[in-house]
Structure formats: structure tokens, C-alpha cells
């Protein structure tokens, strides 16, 4: 009995460990962070078929794709005001089109940047060059998942080194190219 009591904290910790292990092995968290505006990629990229690079316009000319300026948002939304109707997102959140778009306009009128939360992060020691991948013809979805189906943007892939290397291995043109694509200095410096 005494022994059981003694072992109990250990058992509880084991449980924590199991949860941790589950987190580690499971596919990435399907819930993205709560953004200041419920910007739905599903509505923009999915239903309205706006190309990714219309907003992320630097993806093919810079290592960093950039996020659109408030000016860019308002470029469309000065005309698109949104109906006064509700919209239910994939995970059941209910928003009002008009109210949500009004938030963008608010930022624009106050000339304030929208404090978006970063969804896809890379550690500092990884240098990922968007330009090279886009120019080679990869779809954004390869790494970012089916963005056009996401109401709340989340990190679809873990983007760990295994993910990168697998793809690099599959896409090498020849042995020399493979050697280059698997070279540490390709991404780490």
C-alpha cells in the first residue's frame, strides 16, 4: 500500500510522458493559433480561387514570401464589404462576414499593422529559400498542406528534417544533385 502511494507520482509522470510522446509522434496540431482576424484561406484561396502569390507576392523572388500589407487587403476590401451573414468555419466557429471585414478596415483606418501570429516557423539555423522551391515548380501545398481548405490556418506538416530530406531525395535529378540536396550546408549555416 505504502509502496503504491510512493509509486503514484511516478505513474502520473509516466502518463505525462505518454502524452508528450503522443504529441511528438502525432501529425501536427490541427488547430492553428487564434488570429486577430478570422482570415479564412478557404474563402480566399479555395472558394474565390485567389492565387497564393497574389497576396504572398514575394514567394518567387525572395527567400521570404512575405505577408500582405494592410494596403493589399484593403485593395480588395474597399469594394468587398461582406454580407451581413454568418459563416461557420470547419471547426464550428461562427463569424459574421461583414463584422470580420470591418476589422480589416479598422486597422487600415487607424493605419495600424495587423498583428498576425506566425503559423509556420523555422528555427533560425534553418535557411529555407521560398524562391528556389517555387521557381522549381513546387506547389505551396506540398509543405503548407491544403491551405485552400483551411478556415483557420495551421501547420499541416511538422516540417522536421525528415520531411525536407525525403522530398529532397525524391526530387534529385541525378547523383550529383542528390549530393547537393542532402548536403548539410544547403540549409544549415
Amino acid at each position: 500500500m505504502n509502496y503504491f502511494l510512493k509509486i503514484a507520482p511516478v505513474a502520473i509522470l509516466c502518463l505525462f510522458f505518454a502524452v508528450g510522446a503522443y504529441h511528438y509522434t502525432a501529425e501536427s496540431n490541427s488547430r492553428g493559433p487564434v488570429q486577430p482576424i478570422l482570415f479564412s484561406h478557404k474563402i480566399h484561396a479555395g472558394e474565390n480561387e485567389i492565387p497564393c502569390q497574389y497576396c504572398h507576392s514575394f514567394a518567387d523572388i525572395s527567400p521570404n514570401p512575405g505577408i500582405p500589407s494592410v494596403q493589399k487587403c484593403i485593395g480588395c476590401h474597399q469594394y468587398v464589404n461582406g454580407r451581413d451573414e454568418n459563416y461557420v468555419t470547419n471547426d464550428g466557429q461562427v463569424i459574421n462576414y461583414k463584422n470580420e471585414i470591418a476589422k480589416v478596415k479598422g486597422y487600415w483606418e487607424r493605419k495600424e499593422p495587423i498583428p498576425w501570429l506566425k503559423v509556420t516557423t523555422m528555427p533560425e539555423y534553418v535557411k529555407f529559400n521560398h524562391k528556389r522551391h517555387i521557381k522549381r515548380g513546387f506547389e505551396c501545398q506540398t509543405c503548407h498542406g491544403q491551405v485552400e481548405e483551411m478556415d483557420v490556418m495551421y501547420k499541416a506538416e511538422r516540417l522536421n528534417m525528415g520531411f525536407c530530406i525525403t522530398c529532397h531525395e525524391q526530387n534529385a535529378d541525378n547523383k550529383e544533385h542528390l549530393e547537393h540536396l542532402k548536403d548539410c550546408l544547403t540549409c544549415h549555416y
Binding site: K6, P9, V10, L13, C14, F16, F17, V19, G20, A21, H23, Y24, N29, P33, F58, I61, S62, P63, N64, G66, I67, P68, S69, V70, Q71, Y107, W108, K111, E112, P113, I114, P115, W116, L117, K118, T121, P123, E124, Y125, K127, N129, K131, R132, K135, K155, E176, E179, H180, D183, C184, L185, H188, Y189
Partner: protein, 1142 residues
């Protein structure tokens, strides 16, 4: 144990639980999702903004008066790297260490962040708003000007030549105030000597790159003298081995500077006697008929200085003097003077002697170029500055505006500058840093850093650089130009002075004078302006200036008045052609002959002055005789209605003394009496129509161009050469010299410069005194011992550096340290050698004499480690930094390349093999590469304590070795040491986690995120180039803004080392892939290579057989360091090329 068990968990169980808990925490902690960061978009993005793609802005470096062109890399709105501007005619794409470190001035955590004021006489400066600051200043000025005390306003700035200079002059001038420009090193003796010898009160451009033989009297031309990067390029030319030839550099000075270390011969002259050595060399030249110019002019000056006599005076062997004289005259040469040689009380005399040498060798007009004089020539003379400080002491200055200069630190204590400043009612400092002078200010209105400002800088007559902001201002500062415009609008007397709303507009308007199209709103100007911004400045056409060497010839003629000078025939010719007028003059000349012949030049000038401005114009007309002809001169005479008596006087005086002697005297006389240029122009304009329009025009043109520059007559005739007057009764000469790291002390607040090892001592973060080994023995001290250095003016205690490169009778301390303010990195560090100097000036120019005291040196009895990065002085016979003599190279006595058999097959490289080549002949040890590397690669500075533990983080270091050559002369070798990217690297196989490995492109890769910090690699590295992060080093805000986003910032426990700037390789390859995919030779430039002022470093692809680096690898001088270990380095060094007999 059993007791424990009864009471609770056993030790073993406890460890189990803790272990599991820790593991769980680690796992869940590490995997609980990525840290949530914000990404802030632009509201309205700047035009043509692309994130992560750098932009480059051309500007001008303002760390010293040289004014090199720079290109600043801006990434996402922050300036992160300074590089040389390749289109700049001076520095040609290179920078020095100070230029690199200008970023740490910009991002200095100790910058003044807003205007400061003293409220209700409180002791401390407290932050105020700009409105309050401007109101206070304009109120103060209004009060002074309205009560007629405008002349009690003084503006003291550094050399801000260009538009800002004229703005300040106009503003201060309109209020009746006084304007001074003060540079710590103003080269007064050079200017004065040039005035004496050539009548030009200017600093010429010394074209070292055109010379084959450089004879430098103390000029530290590779460190701080005039324009070090420009001279370094010239040095590189001299050191280039072509057609079996190489130039030679001789450095004459009592202590071997970094420049002397790179010279072929260091002549350890007795301090202050350089003047005699120069005269002795001239004497030998004449005696051996080696002179290229007529020597009669200077014979009398140098005849007594025979080689034997000079040898006794200077401690330089006769053979050396003879050798130098012979080499100097036989090669295309140049003699320069500076540093210690021009800092005694006889400095001007030394420079005159140097000028004589240049004259005799025919260098004036070829390697010494007076047509392109430096803007530095026009700073206030030291006489003027001392007058200002005297006036302050006398309470004649009520408002002093100090801008870009720190006299409280850079003037010796004995000059009592601090006392003088404290007598000033109100000091306004425009400094961006809290320095010694700013601390005394009542109001601080901080200027932008030059990298945040608009402006321009006139370097010399032929080039004006643009200063453009390379990023948004960091703090609440205001550019001085804008400040003046705003203040002037609030002052009653200057309200209407400027129309422009901002200094940017003012600058643009002032640049309209350079534009090809003059109309202000034209499109042409916009094109011109954009082009100038892109190029970083504008090259201006200059007419070559003919330097009248007649001056020197005339100097001799005063002893021999019977022979007629060439001018006399001109005078007769003019008189002949004047016709009847001439005849009348000739008759009168006979009459006044007796009077004039007995009159001295001064009396004649006096008499001519009495005749008025009309006569001055006539003088100018006669001067222009060949252009305008005698008829025009006659017309002027008639139009002016001269009486014939002064005419006779003029012509007689001209006959007797010649133009060159009498004309500047006359002009000077008129100037002294307050005759202005405008007055002369009006006189010319008012001539009746007998005088032709084009003659008037010609006269006016001449007056406009030459009036300011024509001055006093040469006094070479009466010059006597003397030994310097050295005060103090100690037994050692005290030499203090500008440091190439801190300049006059303004660099001391930049940690990169503090941590840059001084090339010879390799000391960091502190001061030291150089003493000769013999002196050290005599004093019973060793390296690091504390010495008391005492002069009548003061005393300090400083550590000794035992140095072979200094005379036994001399001790030397570099300037720049010993700040009592100026931020956390500078304050309270080292000693200020200026504290020991007496108030002594150069007798002729009035320049500050740095070589002016003897000191006594005594052992203070204590010792501690003199913190340095390289303690070993010799190569211990390892022959790391190799050298080869010219003779041996020609004979083929160099190491033959031969293939060693290897057990392993050679490594194959598929596409590239990145490699480097370093020419040891060209490396001057200046440290530009080291600082550039710090800037590019986010290398932390670690401070003195950590360097003492050998934990400095530099990826590239300059190793220096002192050797003796065959003849026993000191032979200094510099060897830039960085990761050799070995083909067979010892570090790679010992890494247990494969954090370091050989990349398919020949790089020795270092993967930080793999590294676990065993440090095996560093232990096994042959070249000791690996650096370990013992801490996560801090970059205090906003120094961290400078960090390069393309390079990982390393944390504690990680090994790091040179990567061959892999981020630049990747960038180059990325750009190439956007095009045809081919990386061309020269597309990828490493940071060290980019900075190197002598182009000693070449980087490229060894697989590309046509690349520069591949060709240089096969050079006869090529070798690998410690090749015998078979590491197969990727860096080839070229042996230092030496003269068989320097």
C-alpha cells in the same frame, strides 16, 4: 540508507522519479508546439520593398577625414554591413577596420537618444523635447545677436567640407559669429611647408600608386595618415610583382609602426632628426649628381648636411643614407612626411626638407600632385584653434556650438581646454555620444549618425561624395543641417536667410551647381541626382595646377643678384610692347633707380600697396601678359590714369625680385589691409570701355580662381633647420601616435575596434607602453609589468609591451584610450598619453607638437598579464609565414610543387571547390578583414577578461611574427589565419556527431544545430581556428540590430569558425540560378576579401581553371601552411616577397 527508505523515497527511487519527470518535461516542453511569434505586416509597404532581399545604398564614410566611398547593405530596413564602394576613386571598393565599425557607432547602445538639457541649473542633463531644445538655442542666439554680441558665438566642428560647411558658414557668418573647423590631426606642418616651398597652403594628393620607391618620414600611410585605404591601394601596386620587379618602401621613424612593419626597411632615426636625414639624402643626391632638377635653388640650404654629419645627428649609418639617396633618385619615387616626423617643434622644417627631396627627384607634379588638393587643407590651423580657446578663457565666447569633435579629450591637458570650456557661458553639443566635451554642455541636440543623414563630403578638388541615409534614424535625433534650418527661422536676423524647408532640399539645391543642366526643375537634374546617389558621389573635372618650382629656384637667386631671372626679359618685353607708354616708364625707371635699388622687398611692397587697388589689378594684368598681350596692359594703364611714378616703381621692383616673389607679397599686403575680392572685381568692372570686355573677363576669372589661394611669399631663403625642442628631463623620448583602431579616440567606443588586436602587440581593450628589450632589461621588467611614465605635466601607470621595433631611448604609447566618458566600452579604459604632453607647438606652423617631451620611466613593481591574442613572437622554426627574396625567386630557389603519394584516393569535387589565395606581400595587418568578418558573421565580442582566457571569437586573425633577416634587421611577417577548409581536415573525423564535415563543394561545413560542444575538433585543428562559445554572448540593444539574418547567431556550447562566408556563396548561387546558373569568377566575394584595402585576398572556385584563385594557386610563391601535415588546405598563401638587400 535503511533509515532513509523508511522515511520516504530512497535515493535510487528519487533519481528515477526526477529522471522521468525531467524527461517528460523535456519532451512535452520541446514538443508543445512552436513558440508563437507575431509577424507584423507593413500598413503601406515602401516602394519596391522585397523582404529578405538586401538593398545597397552608396554613401560616404565619415569615421575620419579621408571620406572613403561606402556601400551599405540594408536588409529589411536595417543597415547590417558596410562595404567599400568600387566606383570610388579613392578607396576603390575597400574599407578599413574603422569604416567597418561605423555600424557600431550607428547602433551604439550608449548613443544619446533624445535632446538633453539642464533644468534649473541642475547638475544632470535630462531628456527634453526637440521643440524645447530648439527654442532654448534660438532664444540664446537671439539674446546675443540682438544685444550686439553676435561675435561671441562660436561654432566648432570637425571637417564637414561640402554643403553643410557652407550652410554653417552662411548661418554663423550672418550672425557675426565665428566658425572653426578642428581636426585632431590637421597636418599644419605639411601645409606650412608647402606654402614656404611652393606658395600653396594645401595638402596635395600623394600618388603613391605611381611610385616605385616610397620614402616615408614617419607617415603612417597604411594606418591613419590622410587617406589610408587609398594609400593601401598604392602600397598594393608597389608590392605587385611584375616583370621581375617590385617597388620598395622605406619607413623612417623612431618606433616601427604597422606601416614600418610592412616596409622593406625601417630606419630607426633619432626622434625629431628626420629633417637632417632628409637634408643629408638631398646632399648626397647633389654630390653624386643624382638630382633631376636644378639644385642651385636649394644648394645653400643643404650644403652643410653631409652624410657623415647627418649620420652623427640621426644615428643612421652613412651607407644607408647613400643607398637611399641612390634608390630615391634612380626610381620613380615619392617622399612623404607625417606621424612622429612632423610632430616636433621643427615639423615644418622637416616637411620643407621632404619637399626639397621631392623637388630634386622631379616628383613635384608627377607623384606629388598639387592639382588635386585635399579638403582637409582648409580646416582651421591649430593657431586658430588655440586662439579660440584663449578667447574662451578670456570670457570672449558666450555661446559655443560643438559639432562632431571632442576637444576636451583630443587636446593635451596642458592646453587647458577643459578649463577654457568651463569659462564658456553656454555650450551646445550636437554630438550623438556622451563624450568628454558633451558632458560639459548645457544643451545637447544630438545629430544623426552619418549613416542616417543626408549630406555630402568634399574629399578633394576632384571628388565630392554623397552621404545618404542608409536606414531610418534609430533614436530621437535630428540632423545638424535640419537643426540649423529650423533654428535659423526662429532667429530674427536669420529668418529670411534660407528658403529651403529641409536640409535635403538645401543639399539638392547646392548640388545643382554640379549638374550638367542648370535649370532647377529640369528632368536632367533628377537624372543627374539619381545617378550621383547611385555612384555615391561625383567626379569633378579639375584643371592641372602648375606648381611654380621657380619659387625654389628664386630662393637661391637672392645670393646672386647679378644674374637676371627669366622674368626680367619678360618685363623688358612688356615695356617694349607698351610703345610710348613703355618708353615713358623706362625714362622714369632710370630716375627712381637709386631709390628702388636700396629698398628691401618689404619696402617695395609697402610702396606698391600705397598706390591702391588699381595697381594690384595692373599686377594681375602683367601676370596674365601672355594671355592678354601688352596692348591690353597699356589700355589698363591709360584707363586707370596712372601717374608714371608708381608704374616705374612696379616695373623696377618686378625686375629686381621677379613675379613669384613680389606678387604674392603684394597680394598678402592687400589682403591684410582688408581688400576683398569683391572690391577688386568692382574695380575691374568699372574700367572704361578702352579696356576690352574679354580682358576684363579674363582678369575677373583669374581673381575669382586665385584670390583665396594666393598668399604670403616663400621664406625658404631664410629658413634654418633645427633640432626639435624637447622638454622634460627624463631619459626617454616620449612618442605618442594615432592608433589605426581608435584614430583620435573616436573609435574607442566601438567594441569591434576594442577587440581588434593591434597588429604588432596583438593587445586588446587596453593601453600599453612600448619599450625596447634592452630598456626592459635595464628597468628589470618584463612584458605586462606596470611602468610609471612621468613627465613634468603628469604621470600614469601602464603595462609594458616589450618590442624590438622601438629605439632603446624611446618609449611609445598609442592615442585613443583613457576616456573619462564616451560610453561603456570606452570609459575608464587605458591611459591617455596626451596627459603627459607639454603645451608646445611647431615653431613655424603652430601645429600641436606631439613629440615634445622626454619622460622618466620607472618600474611600478607590479605585474599582470598584458591581454593579447598572440603571445608568441617567433615562428619557432615552423616557417608558417614564409618569405622569398627577389633574387631567390628569379633563380628559382623556391619550393617546387610536387605531388606527395597518398594512401587515400584524392577527393573529387563535382561542381565547385571553393578556395582562397592570400598574398603575404600585400597584407599589412590592418585588420579590416577581421572587423568585416565580425560584422558579416555575427561574431560576438567577448571583452578583455574572456580574451585573457583565450576565448576571443575572431574567425580570421592576423598572426604576426618577428624574425630577423640575414643582416639582423627586424623582419615582421603578417599572416591572416582562418579556417583552411582542408581537403583532409583533422577536425572532421573526430567529431562524434558529424557536426563538422567536408561538403561536396570543398567547404569544411560546421552545422551548429548538430554540435554538442565536445571541442574535440578544436583540439585537433592544426591551425587553431575553431572558436567555442563559452557563453551565449550578448549584443546589447540596439547592437543586435546589426546582426546578419543570413547567419545563425550561435549560442552557448557551440563550436564555430570561418565558413568562407557560405551565406554569400549561397546568395551568389541563388542569383546565378535566376539567370543562366553559372557562377562567374568574382561574383562571390567573401567579407574579408571585400574589405581588404590591398586586395591581398582572392576567393574563387578552384574547379574553374580560368579563375583567379586557380591561377594563383600555381604561382611560384604559392605554398600551404604546414603542408607537411597533409591537411590539403583550401587556402594557398603567396610567400612574402622581400628584397635581397633593402
Amino acid at each position: 540508507m535503511s533509515e532513509n527508505k523508511n522515511n520516504g523515497l530512497s535515493r535510487r527511487d528519487f533519481l528515477k522519479v526526477v529522471g522521468i519527470a525531467g524527461g517528460t518535461a523535456a519532451v512535452t516542453g520541446a514538443c508543445s508546439g512552436d513558440p508563437v511569434e507575431q509577424i507584423i505586416p507593413y500598413v503601406i509597404p515602401p516602394e519596391s520593398y522585397v523582404p529578405a532581399v538586401p538593398k545597397f545604398y552608396a554613401s560616404t564614410c565619415r569615421e575620419c577625414p579621408a571620406g572613403c566611398g561606402i556601400v551599405v547593405k540594408n536588409r529589411d530596413g536595417r543597415a547590417i554591413k558596410v562595404e567599400g564602394n568600387p566606383s570610388n576613386p579613392l578607396n576603390n571598393g575597400s574599407t578599413c577596420a574603422r569604416g567597418q565599425a561605423s555600424l557600431q557607432g550607428l547602433y551604439n547602445p550608449d548613443r544619446i537618444r533624445s535632446p538633453l538639457g539642464r533644468k534649473e541649473n541642475r547638475k544632470n542633463l535630462v531628456p527634453i523635447g526637440w521643440d524645447e531644445g530648439i527654442d532654448t538655442l534660438s532664444g540664446k542666439i537671439n539674446e546675443l545677436v540682438s544685444s550686439g554680441r553676435g561675435s561671441r558665438i562660436a561654432y566648432l566642428s570637425n571637417n564637414v567640407s561640402g554643403t553643410l560647411d557652407s550652410l554653417i558658414n552662411k548661418w554663423i557668418g550672418s550672425m557675426g559669429g565665428r566658425r572653426y573647423t578642428y581636426e585632431s590631426f590637421s597636418y599644419d606642418p605639411i601645409k606650412e611647408a608647402n606654402r614656404i616651398c611652393f606658395g600653396i597652403d594645401k595638402i596635395p594628393t600623394y600618388r603613391i600608386e605611381k611610385a616605385e620607391y616610397v620614402l616615408s618620414f614617419g607617415a603612417d600611410f597604411l594606418e591613419t595618415w590622410l587617406s589610408p585605404t587609398y594609400f593601401a591601394r598604392g602600397f598594393s601596386e608597389i608590392r605587385t610583382y611584375k616583370n621581375g620587379k617590385m617597388g620598395k618602401v622605406i619607413q623612417v621613424e623612431p618606433r616601427a609602426s604597422v606601416t614600418a612593419a610592412s616596409a622593406d626597411l625601417w630606419v630607426a632615426v633619432k626622434p625629431g632628426t628626420e629633417v637632417f636625414l632628409a637634408l643629408g639624402i638631398a646632399n648626397v643626391m647633389i654630390r653624386n649628381k643624382l638630382n633631376k632638377r636644378n639644385y642651385s635653388a636649394v644648394r645653400s640650404l643643404i650644403s652643410e648636411y653631409t652624410a657623415e654629419k647627418v649620420s652623427k645627428l640621426t644615428d643612421v649609418p652613412v651607407e644607408t643614407i647613400n643607398q637611399i639617396a641612390s634608390d630615391f633618385s634612380k626610381n620613380k619615387s615619392i617622399a612623404i612626411g607625417g606621424g612622429v616626423a612632423t610632430s616636433g617643434t621643427n615639423a615644418t622644417e622637416t616637411m620643407v626638407a621632404v619637399n626639397v627631396l621631392n623637388y630634386l627627384a622631379g616628383n613635384i607634379g608627377s607623384t606629388v600632385d598639387f592639382s588635386d588638393t585635399l579638403s582637409l587643407s582648409s580646416v582651421s590651423s591649430f593657431k586658430g584653434i588655440t586662439k579660440l580657446f584663449q578667447d574662451m578663457k578670456d570670457g570672449k565666447v558666450e555661446l559655443l556650438i560643438v559639432h562632431g569633435t571632442n576637444p576636451a579629450f583630443t587636446l593635451p591637458k596642458s592646453l587647458k581646454a577643459v578649463e577654457a570650456l568651463s569659462e564658456v557661458d553656454y555650450i551646445v553639443s550636437l554630438s550623438s555620444f556622451m563624450d568628454e566635451t558633451t558632458e560639459m554642455a548645457s544643451l545637447v541636440l544630438p545629430d544623426h549618425h552619418p549613416l542616417e543623414s543626408w549630406g555630402d563630403y568634399r574629399v578633394n578638388r576632384s571628388y565630392t561624395g554623397i552621404i545618404q541615409p542608409v536606414m531610418h534614424p534609430i533614436f530621437n535625433t535630428k540632423s545638424t543641417g535640419d537643426l540649423i534650418l529650423e533654428v535659423s527661422k526662429k532667429i530674427d536676423s536669420t529668418k529670411e536667410l534660407f528658403e529651403e524647408p529641409s536640409y535635403y532640399e538645401y543639399l539638392r539645391n547646392s548640388w545643382k551647381k554640379f549638374a550638367p543642366t542648370k535649370s532647377p526643375s529640369s528632368k536632367g537634374f533628377e537624372v543627374f541626382w539619381k545617378e550621383s546617389l547611385k555612384n555615391g558621389g561625383i567626379k569633378l573635372g579639375i584643371s592641372p595646377r602648375k606648381v611654380s618650382i621657380n619659387v625654389l629656384q628664386k630662393a637661391g637667386s637672392h645670393q646672386d643678384t647679378t644674374t637676371r631671372s627669366p622674368q626680367d626679359s619678360t618685363i623688358d618685353k612688356i615695356l617694349d610692347e607698351l610703345g610710348t607708354v613703355g618708353k615713358k616708364i623706362a625714362i622714369l625707371i632710370e630716375k627712381v633707380k637709386d631709390f628702388i635699388s636700396g629698398v628691401s622687398i618689404d619696402k617695395a611692397v609697402e610702396a606698391i600697396y600705397g598706390a591702391g587697388v588699381q595697381v594690384l589689378v595692373l599686377f594681375i594684368a602683367i601676370q596674365l601678359f601672355t594671355y592678354i598681350g601688352a596692348a591690353s596692359i597699356a589700355s589698363i594703364i591709360i584707363a586707370s590714369g596712372f601717374s608714371y611714378r608708381p608704374l616705374a616703381l612696379i616695373f623696377t621692383a618686378l625686375r629686381k625680385y621677379g613675379f613669384n616673389e613680389i606678387f604674392p607679397s603684394v597680394v598678402q599686403k592687400f589682403k591684410e589691409q582688408g581688400v576683398t575680392k569683391e572690391e577688386i572685381l568692382i574695380t575691374i568692372e568699372n574700367y572704361p570701355k578702352e579696356v576690352k570686355k574679354e580682358v576684363k573677363l579674363k582678369l575677373k576669372e583669374w581673381v575669382n580662381e586665385n584670390w583665396e589661394e594666393t598668399s604670403y611669399p616663400p621664406t625658404l631663403n631664410y629658413l634654418k633647420f633645427s633640432e626639435p625642442n624637447i622638454k622634460g628631463d627624463g631619459e626617454f623620448y616620449f612618442v605618442t601616435y594615432p592608433s589605426y583602431r581608435y584614430y583620435d579616440g573616436s573609435g574607442a567606443n566601438k567594441p569591434w575596434l576594442q577587440e581588434l588586436p593591434e597588429a604588432l602587440s596583438t593587445s586588446v581593450w587596453d593601453s600599453y607602453v612600448e619599450v625596447h628589450p634592452d630598456t626592459a632589461n635595464k628597468l628589470g621588467i618584463r612584458e605586462g609589468s606596470y611602468l610609471n611614465i612621468r613627465s613634468p605635466q603628469g604621470e600614469f601607470k601602464v603595462q609594458a609591451f616589450v618590442y624590438e621595433g622601438i629605439r632603446p631611448d624611446t618609449v611609445a604609447v598609442p592615442m585613443g584610450q583613457g576616456h573619462t566618458s564616451y560610453g561603456r566600452y570606452a570609459k575608464g579604459r587605458g591611459v591617455n598619453p596626451l596627459d603627459l604632453l607639454p603645451d608646445v607647438r611647431d615653431a613655424r606652423s603652430g601645429g600641436l607638437a606631439f613629440l615634445s617631451t622626454k619622460v622618466s620611466v620607472s618600474n611600478a613593481g607590479s605585474h599582470s598579464l598584458l591581454v593579447r591574442t598572440q603571445y608568441t613572437k617567433t615562428q619557432h622554426d615552423r616557417d608558417v609565414a614564409k618569405a622569398v627574396t627577389l633574387g631567390d625567386l628569379k633563380k628559382g630557389g623556391y619550393d617546387k610543387h610536387h605531388e606527395e603519394y597518398d594512401f587515400y584516393p584524392p577527393r573529387e569535387y563535382a561542381k565547385h571547390r571553393w578556395a582562397m589565395n592570400i598574398d603575404l606581400s600585400k597584407c599589412t595587418g590592418c585588420g579590416a578583414c577581421v572587423t568585416a568578418c565580425y560584422a558579416e558573421n555575427n561574431i560576438p565580442f567577448v571583452g578583455k577578461d574572456q580574451v585573457a582566457k583565450r576565448r576571443d571569437m575572431a574567425w580570421i586573425r592576423i598572426e604576426r611574427y618577428f624574425d630577423k633577416d640575414k643582416s639582423g634587421k627586424m623582419d615582421v611577417r603578417f599572416l591572416p589565419m582562418l579556417c583552411q577548409h582542408c581537403g583532409n581536415a583533422p577536425c572532421e573525423p573526430v567529431c562524434p556527431v558529424y557536426a563538422t564535415y567536408h561538403s561536396p563543394e570543398g567547404l569544411n561545413g560546421m552545422v551548429y544545430n548538430r554540435c554538442v560542444g565536445t571541442r574535440y575538433c578544436a583540439n585537433n585543428c592544426t591551425y587553431k581556428v575553431r572558436r567555442f562559445n563559452w557563453y551565449t554572448y550578448k549584443f546589447p540593444e540596439p547592437l543586435n540590430w546589426q546582426l546578419n539574418p543570413d547567419v545563425t547567431v550561435r549560442t552557448k556550447g557551440v563550436m564555430e569558425k570561418c565558413t568562407f562566408c557560405v551565406q554569400r556563396i549561397k546568395f551568389g548561387q541563388d542569383i546565378a540560378k535566376d539567370g543562366d546558373g553559372v557562377v562567374k569568377d568574382g561574383d562571390i566575394v567573401t567579407a574579408c576579401q571585400q574589405a581588404c584595402p590591398t586586395n591581398a585576398i582572392v576567393f574563387g572556385d578552384m574547379k574553374d581553371k580560368s579563375s583567379k584563385v586557380a591561377k594563383l594557386e600555381k604561382d611560384k610563391r604559392g605554398y600551404k601552411v604546414l603542408e607537411v601535415i597533409n591537411t590539403k588546405p583550401g587556402i594557398t598563401y603567396l610567400k612574402k616577397l622581400k628584397w635581397d638587400n633593402a
